[in-house]
Structures are given as C-alpha cells and as structure tokens.
C-alpha cells in the first residue's frame, strides 16, 4: 500500500465515520422488528398458499379418473379396459437416510447413503441466496434457487425420484451450491432461471470458486401413492371415450382410493382403502 493510498483510506474512513455519526433516525426497536417479522410471515404464508394450491392441483391431476377407450359394440371387444393401478404421486416419509451440513459453496460435495425405500426425497436448504444443483448416482436430477431470494421467500430445493427405479441400498448423492447471480447473470430480476445442463453446471461451479456458505442436504424415504380408480374399487369413477370422440364422465365415486404401497411406514395406515382418508 502506497502512502498516497493510506491518505485516501484515512480520509475515507473519517468521512464515513462522520456521516454515520449524524444520527437522523429514532433507531431500530424490537417492536419494529417484530412488526416486520409478522409482515414477512404473512408474505411467506401467501407464497406457501400459492405453492399449496399448485401442489393440490398436481395431486388432483394425478387423481383424476383415467380415460379408457371402449371398443364399438359388436366387434367382440371388451366393454371396458380393466384399469391397472397407476402411480399417481409420491409421499415423503419421516425416515431420514442422510442429513449433512453444507459449509462450502462452489464445489461438488458427494455423500453416500443407504436407503430402504424405492424412492427418496432430496431436500436442500440454504442459509444464503444460492442456486443448488443435485446429482443422484451421477445424474443431475434437480436444481433451483435456494435460500431467501429477492422475493423475500426462503426457497428450498425439493425433489422426489419418480422414475420408478430402485433406490434401495447404497446410493451416491452430490450437491453443489453456487451464488444465484452466477446462474441468473444477465436475467431480469424475478425472471425464471433456465436449467443448467451437466457441462454448464460444471462451468458455473468452476467459475464460482470455493467460498464459505451454509446449508443442509436431507434425504428422506418416499413412497409411491398408488391409485386404483376403476374398476377395482369403484366401477363408476371413470371417463369413457367413445370411438366418436364423445366422453362420458361418471363421478359417482368420492375421493380416489389409495392403495397401500409395500414398504409404507406403519404410521401411514390411515391411507389404507376404506379407512376414510
């Protein structure tokens, strides 16, 4: 540091200290902070409600009656195609297979876990505004913004394997956090962030360089929610599409029946058929 810079820095320090000393405010009170907390909670609850509505819509889609096509009468075909139980959605359980603190960003952190369920839910929470990338057994499976973003919402990345693959046993999971600005560079604030490919992810992580941050990676068990709409448990809850394109909707049944999936925890007994949901 040259003498000239020292002078500059000293004057700059004096200037800042002098300006900051001209208190022009009543100060920050706990009551004021608490009011702000309530406002943030309301906003987050609002955002949560939107998310819940989206989730409900997704479940509704998963649970909508299946469409079957009936053959025209007289050609010897079956009156209706027997329904096969379909995987509609997944529920996350309470068993935690892995819970690891993330303390470094800009680097791929790899962990191994042993699971007993066919599916898992992977959740990443971040202390700082970040962009999280998750690999499962070497494949980039999910990514997204994580931590409190400019919308004041504390985002988490949550992903459930719905591939129907078998994740019992030992699996490798990897996670990387990068500053969200690295991924959203050049985008308007609030604009959707395009998903990164494997190579782009590698590049962004490399460019970020390692830095200290905070977060948590949690892996829980997840189980398929198997819906068997018709004719197994309800022979009227069905959409029939005639060959002429006309659809006949029968909705005499109530809620879709949920059939217990092998391996579900005992605590989920209430979901068994006939339990009344």
């Amino acid at each position: 540091m040259t003498p000239t810079e020292t002078v500059t820095e000293t004057e700059l320090r004096d200037l800042l200290a002098g300006d900051a000393a001209t208190a022009g405010s009543g100060g920050v009170t706990l009551a004021g902070v608490d009011r702000r907390v309530r406002r943030l909670r309301r906003r987050r609850a609002g955002a949560g409600a939107v998310l819940a509505a989206g989730l409900a819509a997704a479940v509704t889609v998963a649970a909508t009656p299946r469409t079957v096509t009936i053959a025209p009468p007289g050609d010897g075909g079956p009156a209706a195609v027997a329904a096969v139980p379909t995987v509609g959605s997944y529920l996350t359980g309470e068993r935690v297979f892995l819970s690891e603190a993330i303390e470094t960003g800009g680097r791929v952190l790899t962990f191994t876990y042993t699971g007993i369920s066919e599916s898992v839910n992977v959740r990443v929470e971040c202390r700082d505004p970040s962009y999280a990338l998750v690999w499962l057994n070497g494949r980039l499976v999910t990514q997204g913004v994580c931590g409190i973003q400019s919308d004041d919402v504390d985002h988490a990345v949550s992903w459930t394997d719905e591939s129907g693959g078998h994740l019992r046993g030992t699996n490798d999971v990897a996670v990387a956090l990068v500053p969200v600005q690295r991924v959203a560079a050049g985008l308007e604030a609030g604009a959707p962030v395009p998903a990164l490919g494997e190579r782009e992810a590698e590049r962004v992580i490399g460019e970020s360089g390692e830095y200290r941050t905070g977060g948590r990676l949690t892996i829980r068990d997840a189980w398929p929610l198997v819906a068997a709409p018709t004719p197994i448990s309800c022979d009227q809850d069905i959409v029939i599409r005639n060959p002429n394109g006309q659809e006949i909707l029968s909705s005499a049944c109530g809620d879709p029946t949920v059939v217990r999936s092998p391996g579900w925890p005992e605590s989920w007994r209430w979901l068994e058929p006939g339990s009344g949901g």
Binding site: E5, L16, G27, V33, L40, R127, I148, P179
Partner: protein, 165 residues
Amino acid sequence: MRDRADFERYVEQRSDRMLRTAYLLCRDWATAEDLVQTALAKAWLAWRRVGDNPDPYVYRILANTHASWWRRRWRGEQPTEVLPEPAVGDAADLFGSRDAVRRALAGLPPKQRAVIVLRYFADLGDDRIAEILGCSAATVRSQASRALARLRVDPAARSAMSLEG
C-alpha cells in the same frame, strides 16, 4: 440453541452500528431503518440456523436487500433524452467539498459501495467481507480496487481526497 433472549440482546447491542452501516449504504435514514428492520426480521426467522456469530448473516441480508432495493429503484427510473445540468456551485463546492466524495460514493454500484462501507466503516477484513457478500476475497479486493479507482477518476473526489498529492 439460540433463543429469543439471545436475539433481543443482539438487537440491543448491534442495531445502532448496523443502522449506521445501512445509512452509509443507502444515504437515507428512513430507508436505513427499513433495511435494518428487514435484515433483523429475516435473521429472527432463521435464528436457530444462524450460528454463534450472527453478524455475517445479518450483514449479508442487509447488503443483499439494499442491492435488491437499489436495482428495483434503478429500474423504476425513466430515461430522459437530455442529461440534467450538473449543479454548479462555487469552487469550494466542486473541489473542496466532502459532498463531492459522497456523490462519488453514491454513484458506485451497490456491491462496490458495500465493500467500501464494510471495509472502511465496519473495519472488516476482506475474508469477512467475502463471507458476507458471498464471493471470494479476491473479488472483494478487485471490487474495492475498482471502487477506489472510480473515486479517483471523479475530479471532485480526486481533489477532495487529495489523491493527486
């Protein structure tokens, strides 16, 4: 585990200094108060995860929230075809006034301003600043260097800060 009493103590002890830091970031006391309240409120919502030293977390929220508000305000400005006339005062205004330095500081992008304030007012080291701003210490150094360079190229700032010797 960090509890409410812990948080209240933290607010009591640190909010004044934080408010002054926020003021230097935004140069408006009402906005500074708003910034600090928001940062502390967000910190309280995540208090259990914050750890033993909440300062980096809270300062980071402060810096990020300020940058975010600054961007929103900047986007809201309407471009005009004609540049406004610079306020021409007497020679003391232009060449000797500390206001010139303030104006130069106010013209810095939020991250550079945050680096300057955290380094020269909060007296934090580059590693700490890097932790707060979520970047590397090298980035902090380059941002500081750019900020100081911008202050130097401003003629008024140059004069006021005796950079030309």
